[in-house]
Amino acid sequence: MIAIFRREMRGYFDSLMGVGVIGAFVVLMMLLSLLLDPLNQGGDWFKRGELSMRTFFGVFPWVAAVVVPAVSMRLWAEDRRQATFELLMTLPIPTWQVALGKYLAGLVFLAAMLAGTAAFPLMLANFGQPDWGPVLGGYVACFLLGAAFLAIGMFLSGLTENQALAFFVAMLVCLGLVGLGELRTFFGDLARARPTAALVHLTSLPVVGLAVLAAAVSRDKAVGAGSVAVGLAVNALTYLFDDQPSPPKSEAVVAALGQISVLDHFREIERGVVYTNGLVFIASLVVLFVVLNVWSLESRRHS
């Protein structure tokens, strides 16, 4: 596992791409949080006068959803392209160790990306006495979210040898996860008006998603298309039945949405409040996608 880890680390830091990703990430984050501040009506960080990194943590999920897939896209796809994948799979070590070695290397690279933004907290210290609790908590949360995106990206990278495709799909999934929080109001209203429909939408989303992933793993187009069609049909059918408003059901849907909304958890973290359930959700994403990655590789190994 250590050998795999070292190999991947060399892959990141010996290539221009790795250094370029860190540079691009830092520039993008700093421009967005210091000058543009797109989430708070725009403006200069200095004009706000607040000694905090809220603008930074506010834009991080969106930037990470784009940049982290760029880090993860090469994890498996590069091996497939260079035909070293088969070599790795035939090594006398368990698949999970190979996957974990690669994932740990990705985590270290993610940490290096975050360390690249250390100038921001240094600037805070220079301009007064900042509250370090939210800054540290924010960085830990950023690392965790990055770790989750990395796991997603690594899993999707294992499904294709096309790095661009791996990047694009991972980016879409990550952006979807972040954007889900923005749909909370819409889902909340829907849950109040048609609770059963909202419940069906909410449960069918991961089920259909997993079915599509399973189809992608085994390159079984029929199963993929079939599960999407069934999912759509079931969701559409719910609108044919009379759906009476039911406050307990609506509340359950809204609570579940709150739990899976990365953005909601991040809004809390941004101001210095951490709810353990948010961390559990992000950690669950890491576990789920690393495990899926190992199983998908195992299935390839034996197919």
């Binding site: 540079g23 000694l51 100038a119 921001f120 509250d131 609790g133 189809a215 951490v274 353990t276 669950s284």
Partner: protein, 760 residues
């Protein structure tokens, strides 16, 4: 092949679903048992115990609507976000009992919408624009924007929290409603609405009133053309109330003809109702004009009066009763009664028994009576011989001068659940001199501190250190009254005898400390609490004011006749010892305290009477020229009490409420700051009495995010922008170049080694 593929798909799907279900279960458990970490240093996003208690006890939902300007001033760019943070915190901690919405008001919004908001008392907030945020800043204009929250609870009238600002600069610290007080403001609004929420319907109210309700109904012969039976409808409604009341409601009807009757009788006509329709004057059919008519109710209850007019639209008796209801509720609502114990008047101003003594505190007492909206009564301890138990709060000026029996009565009131505010006075000085220029020194007098008062306070764990404290920033101006004209002429000397309470001196989280910033405390001394004794007495202490500025002890040259030099220089090393640990020399007049001086504190809990066991009930003191009062209790063991938790607030200065010391300030200061802040002390104490423990437990202020300190020059700003944005890419480029150079060198060395190897 297909079957094998399907098998893998099924296997993968099964395992994925199982993992997902397991993780969903973990997430469900995490949702149910979630913990919360507030990482801010001052725990500003953690609700106070009081707020949590209040939300637990609420029976109705709370709805907060925040009206905010879409384009706030640049200074307020964080305002909406900061308010949202607070509201979100309250909403998530309230278990669904508080819901909020944010409504943005833009310039493009229709005039009707703005007018609708105005009707609901939602007006734009006006900010003074200045050239900076420091003391040297100059005003350069005003800017208006919306920032108001409307709080609704149950059926009660909504409470509007106006002009919510975030703390950006010093100017904001003096504003009343801020983001850091929002938690308290909302909770207080809910408390207020809850206490006045349940209103008894009028028909039931008239049955249960303790005192009868009297109504005088003025009605014109001619009613408006649109509602000609209005007079009869109102009369019918009043008759219904008479039938329902069981003799508790009476009314008289008086017919008024065109307002002449009242004018002829010399009574005012403030309640003329007018319609704008053209009509004919019955006395002069040729005259046309606006119709005037009366449909006015004068409602009298327990010596108070209220008017209801404008009945023009009411066509049924129920509508008339609905219209009357809020007016009757206002008139009959329970009132907050403040009792005041004043010190005895000086011999030259002695009043008759039963009359309010003419002391230096009496003008403020009159002012409170007129302006604070509470019922205020002078508690004549010598005449009444007990404190009325229906008082919400008892204010005692200079308790250190009270007789033992007077203190005994206050002690019993406190032990039976009373709320007492005591303003002690350690020192005094005659600032006013008639007809002569005072000397270079101001004569000071130690106010008598009776032994029984000291013992009583010590029993509670409180001691007064009667050393006079001097504050560098404080001032009191002695003045003289010209003997011929009687005009007041100030002497140009400012004596630092009044400590000024700065925002940092106040326990910002205590409800007792609300709005006390800028309060002058003349002749302040120090309160020394004994925590062990307070705890042993089962009381809870909450400090209100601890002076943290440069506070000095005054050391009189002659302790027998203390005098303060009017030209005393606080910066002169010859007069001031600044080292708190040093022993002051003989010539030193001031010695730095070196630690905060507690000058106001509150004790809460079940007070135990001082007069128990061997201590017998003290006798009333005999008044000069009067026969000794009959006093069967004197010398007897104290009768049994009905114990209930109460509160005692102690201030170590009463001077800010003493008219004697206010003359030294200019009129604007007195009108705009001193009196309102003085009244705030009463308001805080009275609110404690009205809203009880729920109110005391609230946290008045939460922390705020730290801000950039000092000026940020353009150069410094650009430098840090450059470091943040370009620093890392430049470092990475340098690292990459360095690494490439090292590699090139290694390659060269390798190739050279290969070459030499080849040659050999």
């Amino acid at each position: 092949m297909v079957n094998r593929k399907r098998a893998y798909t099924s296997h993968f799907l099964l395992m994925a679903v199982l993992t997902t279900v397991a993780l969903a279960a973990v997430n469900y458990l995490a949702m149910q048992h979630r913990a919360r970490l507030d990482l801010t240093a001052d725990r500003r996003f953690t609700l106070s115990e009081g707020t949590q208690r209040l939300f637990e006890s609420l029976t109705e939902p709370v709805q907060v609507t925040y009206y905010v300007d879409e384009e706030p001033p640049p200074k307020r760019v964080n305002l909406e976000r900061d308010v949202r943070d607070k509201l979100q915190e309250l909403a998530s901690a309230s278990n669904g009992k508080l819901k909020f919405s944010i409504e943005r008001i833009s310039l493009a919004d229709a005039k009707e919408k703005r007018e609708e908001l105005e009707k609901r008392n939602i007006h734009p907030t006006v900010d003074l624009l200045t050239t900076g945020g420091d003391d040297a800043a100059r005003a350069k204009g005003f800017q208006g924007y919306y920032s108001t929250a409307e709080v609704k609870y149950g059926l009660a009238e909504p409470v509007v929290i106006r002009d919510i600002r975030n703390l950006v600069d010093k100017l904001d610290e003096s504003t009343e409603n801020r983001v850091d007080t929002l938690e308290f403001d909302i909770c207080f609004a809910v408390l207020q609405m809850r206490s006045r929420g349940a209103k008894v319907p009028l028909k039931r109210l008239v049955r249960v009133l303790r005192e009868p309700l009297m109504v005088r109904f003025w009605v014109s012969e001619q009613m408006p053309a649109a509602n000609p039976k209005l007079g009869e409808t109102i009369e019918q409604a009043l008759r219904t109330l008479v039938e329902e009341s069981g003799g508790n409601f009476k009314f008289e009807r008086e017919v008024v003809s065109w307002g002449r009757v009242l004018v002829d009788r010399g009574e005012a006509l403030p309640f003329v109702n007018r319609t704008q329709e053209d009509t004919v004057d019955p006395r002069d059919p040729t005259r046309k004009g606006a119709r005037h008519y009366y449909s006015v109710l004068q409602i009298v209850h327990a010596g108070r009066m209220n008017f209801v007019w404008d009945f023009s639209g009411e066509t049924t008796t129920d509508a008339v009763l609905t219209k009357m209801e809020p007016f009757v509720h206002e008139l009959t609502r329970p009132r907050t009664k403040l009792g005041m114990v004043l010190p005895p008047a000086p011999p030259n101003r002695r009043s008759q028994p039963g009359q309010v003594p003419q002391t230096d505190y009496t003008p403020l007492f009159n002012f409170v009576q007129q302006n604070l909206g509470y019922e205020t009564e002078w508690v004549d301890l010598l005449g009444q011989r007990r404190i009325p138990r229906d008082l919400s709060c008892l204010v005692v000026f200079e308790p250190n001068r009270l007789s033992e029996r007077e203190l005994y009565e206050i002690d019993r009131y406190l032990a039976e659940g009373g709320h007492v505010v005591m303003f002690c006075q350690g020192w005094e000085a005659k600032l006013r001199t008639v007809g002569r220029v005072p000397s270079a020194n101001l004569a000071l007098t130690k106010t008598p501190m009776h032994r029984h008062f000291e013992d009583w306070a010590r029993n509670l764990g409180i001691e007064f250190d009667q050393t006079l404290l001097i504050d560098r920033g404080g001032k009191l101006a002695p003045y003289r009254e010209h003997s011929r004209t009687g005009a007041i002429e100030l002497i140009p000397a400012s004596v630092p005898l009044a400590a000024v309470v700065e925002p940092g001196d106040i326990n910002g989280q205590s409800v007792y400390g609300r709005g006390l910033g800028g309060l002058p405390l003349p002749f302040v001394v120090r309160i020394k609490p004994d925590d062990a004794k307070i705890a042993a007495a089962g009381l809870e202490r909450q400090d209100i004011i601890a002076l943290k500025n440069d506070i000095y002890r005054f050391i009189p040259a002659n302790p027998a006749f203390p005098e303060l030099p009017l030209n005393m220089n606080l910066n002169s090393p010859a007069e001031v010892e600044s080292d708190p640990d040093a022993t002051p020399g003989e010539k030193i007049r001031l010695h730095r305290l070196g630690e905060p001086a507690l000058v106001a504190t509150a004790l809460r809990g079940q007070f135990t009477s001082f007069w128990t066991g061997d201590r017998k009930v003290p006798a009333w003191e005999t008044q000069p020229g009067l026969a000794p009062p009959e006093d069967p209790l004197a010398g007897q063991p104290a009768p049994e009490l009905k114990p209930r938790p109460g509160s005692l607030i102690l201030y170590s200065s009463a001077g800010s409420l003493n008219i004697e010391y206010l003359y030294g300030y200019n009129l604007d200061e007195v009108r705009n700051a001193l009196i309102p802040i003085g009244l705030t002390m009463f308001r805080n104490a009275a609110d404690v009495a009205i809203y009880g423990e729920d109110f005391v437990r609230l946290r008045v202020r939460t922390g705020v995010a730290p801000r950039i300190t000092g000026e940020v020059s353009e150069g410094r700003r650009l430098w840090w922008m450059l470091v943040c944005i370009a620093g890392m890419p430049l470092a990475l480029t340098a690292w990459g170049v360095g690494r490439a150079l090292v590699r090139a060198r290694q390659r060269q060395e390798y190739e050279a080694a290969l070459g030499s190897g080849g040659q050999s």
